[in-house]
């Protein structure tokens, strides 16, 4: 990653102001769970079981627009394209994922 991991708390509508105690730290390696029952369904299937690195911490939001409740903390996780396609590449995919989908490596 050429850009430094960042911690930029959410500040938009519904931002949760209290302490940002994320389970994972910027720069930490994480794996996407194969399933996460009841979790935010917006985790693309091409990422299941893949390993990436925490690039940014976003805090949590309350039900913006189409959500039904408060989702756990949100992270931007950086994956190597090679991890996803299996082919050599120096490029990255950055995806915004909630904590319940991530496990430590």
């Amino acid at each position: 990653m050429s850009s430094e991991p960042k911690n930029t708390p959410w500040s938009g509508p519904g931002a949760r102001k209290e302490g940002l105690e994320h389970r994972f730290k910027a720069g930490e390696r994480v794996r996407v769970r194969m399933s996460s029952t009841g979790a935010n369904p917006r985790t693309p299937t091409y990422l299941l079981g893949k390993t990436g690195m925490i690039a940014e911490l976003h805090g949590a939001t309350y039900a913006p627009h189409d959500h039904r409740g408060v989702y756990p903390y949100l992270y931007t996780v950086a994956f190597d394209v090679s991890e996803i396609s299996g082919k050599a590449s120096k490029d990255k995919i950055l995806v915004d994922l909630t904590e319940e989908w991530l496990e430590p490596v």
């Binding site: 930029t8 500040s11 938009g12 917006r42 976003h58 939001t61 627009h65 931007t76 394209v81 082919k87």
Partner: protein
């Protein structure tokens, strides 16, 4: 699908009529079955607007007592003259006809937004409309209309359906107004907001960031608040992610799950942004796809970062200021910024006349 990608170029020339018509059909059905009609049904079910009120409005619209329409086509035409001169269509270029349909679809989408009900008057919950559209329960899903036949037939069907859908929306909106659920002022206010947004806003933000390093810093740290400095309404934006291109990093945005897009800054997403060929391949082979689909060659030493918008963040690319623009004004610079460059599939270039 591959064939289509190769036919798409980074310029705005339309190369593949079939793909445009297919996208139009899908879009029109989406806006009708997911956004417009569920909203109308929601009002009927909750008795905000009884069905008879809608019929009464429709009946009045058939007479001259109804006044001039609320939604006027942005190309200034009316459905009538088209009907009377149907044979002229044969002489029109296909491209022109499809473009006109695309403009009218935009009109339809904008009109849907204009007729959204003021939450102050009605206890309006977005979730309810989503229920009605079958987002949670397929039972409520409105049946999709079939499209098919020759290109000619499909274009004729789109023309017809656009007309009908606008008629439904016009009736609904008029009925809302007649029943005191929506005012002319609200519509006028929203219309002014609409004219003021879209891709131009994004271009203004990028140009400001190019000329004002402090603003750029604020934009990257907290984009949503920085936008306010330029009087840009955030719309539905929750958090704005700003991905800055540098000499070593090139950013691209996609939403593989649907088509999340920073509408407040970049207007409506281009059709290819919503297309599976873009969504699927950009995460498998970004470098190859950018070259093949958009003719953008990213140098080997530059890392590509693809941002997949899966959550409430909306990503926008902050492109690099092109060389040779020293001393340009903010307004001149904004002219260089295209939607494509804010998604990261092209770079702002100085057009030479």
């Amino acid at each position: 699908m591959l064939n289509m990608i190769e036919q798409v170029s980074s310029d705005t020339q339309m190369k593949d009529f079939e793909a445009h018509v297919t996208a139009l059909e899908a879009d029109l059905e989406y806006w009708r079955a997911k956004r417009c009609e569920p909203h109308v049904l929601h009002f009927v079910r909750r008795n905000f607007l009884p069905l008879h009120a809608l019929f009464a409005t429709a009946a009045r619209m058939g007479t001259d007592g109804a006044g001039k329409p609320i939604f006027i086509r942005s190309d200034g035409k009316t459905g009538e003259e088209e009907h009377n001169h149907e044979h002229d269509h044969k002489h029109e270029e296909l491209e022109e006809r499809i473009r006109s349909l695309e403009d009218r679809l935009d009109d339809y989408v904008r009109a849907i937004a204009l007729s959204a009900t003021d939450p102050g008057k009605v206890d309006f919950v977005i979730d309810d409309s989503r229920k009605e559209s079958g987002a949670y329960d397929p039972f409520f899903k409105l049946t999709k209309r079939a499209h098919g036949g020759s290109l000619e037939e499909r274009i004729a069907q789109l023309d017809r359906e656009l007309k009908q859908n606008m008629q439904v929306l016009e009736t609904f909106t008029r009925c809302l107004m007649e029943n005191g659920l929506l005012t002319e002022e609200t519509i006028a206010k929203r219309r002014a907001q609409q004219e003021n947004n879209g891709a131009k806003n994004g271009a203004r933000v990028v140009a400001r960031a190019w000329v004002d390093p402090d603003f750029k810093e604020r934009l990257i740290a907290n984009g949503r608040e920085a936008m306010r400095e330029l009087d840009i309404p955030p719309g539905l934006l929750a958090k704005l992610g700003v991905a800055e291109n540098t000499d070593s990093v090139h950013n691209v945005v996609v939403c593989t799950l649907c088509s999340c897009y920073p509408r407040a800054l970049a207007g409506d997403p281009p059709w290819w942004y919503r297309h599976d060929s873009y969504k699927q391949q950009i995460v498998q082979d970004p470098r190859g796809l950018l070259g093949k689909m958009f003719g953008l060659k990213v140098p080997e030493e530059v890392t590509i970062q693809v941002h997949d918008s899966t959550a409430d963040l909306r990503w926008i690319v902050l492109p690099q200021r092109p060389a040779g623009t020293e001393g340009w004004s903010e307004e001149e610079l904004a002219e260089l910024v295209t939607i494509e460059s804010m998604v990261g599939v092209s770079k702002p270039v100085i057009r030479r006349e």
